[in-house]
Assembly symmetry: C2
Homo-oligomer: 137 residues x 2
């Protein structure tokens, strides 16, 4: 489970520390794109000695090294995503819920569209849909 993660750390020249593993596992296990605070709360049970500053620092370095992604939101609280494959996000208009949305047909549709339609003065690297609406349950 964490093998992929450990290997990636080594690739990047980062040391494999229990803190990093615990924080990464927290992001993976916590659904709904957790905040730093969610992570701190989650790891408290099994790793009560990990300090708050460490959590922030580890999250930052994992984003920088492309092991996590930040999720764009309208809030001033940062949220993180462990899924690196191409996917989109469903944002609830009423709550803070954010779900992943994977749709290969959609990816193809959009990437085909932008093959022909270039945006002037802009080189596209990635396209994500920000789908806002309401969950039924």
């Amino acid at each position: 489970m964490t093998h992929f993660f450990r290997e990636k750390l080594k690739e990047r020249g980062l040391k494999v520390t229990p803190q990093r593993v615990a924080i990464y596992e927290a992001i993976v296990n916590l659904k709904n794109h957790p905040t730093a605070e969610n992570v701190i709360e989650y790891i408290k049970t099994n790793h009560p000695n990990i300090s708050v500053g460490t959590v922030y620092k580890v999250l930052d370095s994992l984003v920088e090294n492309e092991l996590l992604k930040k999720v764009k939101t309208e809030k001033d609280i940062m949220r993180y995503d462990a899924i690196l494959s191409n996917h989109h996000h469903l944002y609830c208009i009423e709550t803070e819920r954010i779900e992943d949305y994977e749709d290969e047909n959609l990816n193809v549709l959009i990437s085909n569209y932008f093959k022909n339609k270039k945006i002037k003065n802009f080189k596209v690297q990635d396209i994500k849909l920000q789908i806002t609406g309401k969950f039924n349950k």
Copy 2:
């Protein structure tokens, strides 16, 4: 210019104050989806007495009343958008630049796609593209 804005305020039962007008004009005139701080700096010249708290409060109430929108970002600093029509955003991977991207064909393409393809347990209200990449200049 601000006629639309004044009317909208009245519709919503909000008082038309010089502060609200100045802050709205700042958002409209400042390109690149300004932060509260950008607004404070901008209005300082002509309205040196508007307090910081007022700027935040006005921005919040304008968002709540659908006269402005918040822009989703990966930063903990909020940014605002005065354009209410359906459009997308180009995010620079290297700087904080965010540009609007309007593309009616794209809107049609996507809305057609989601006419057939329903997302289970989710009622779509709005779809925006987050296009990340690099500006040429």
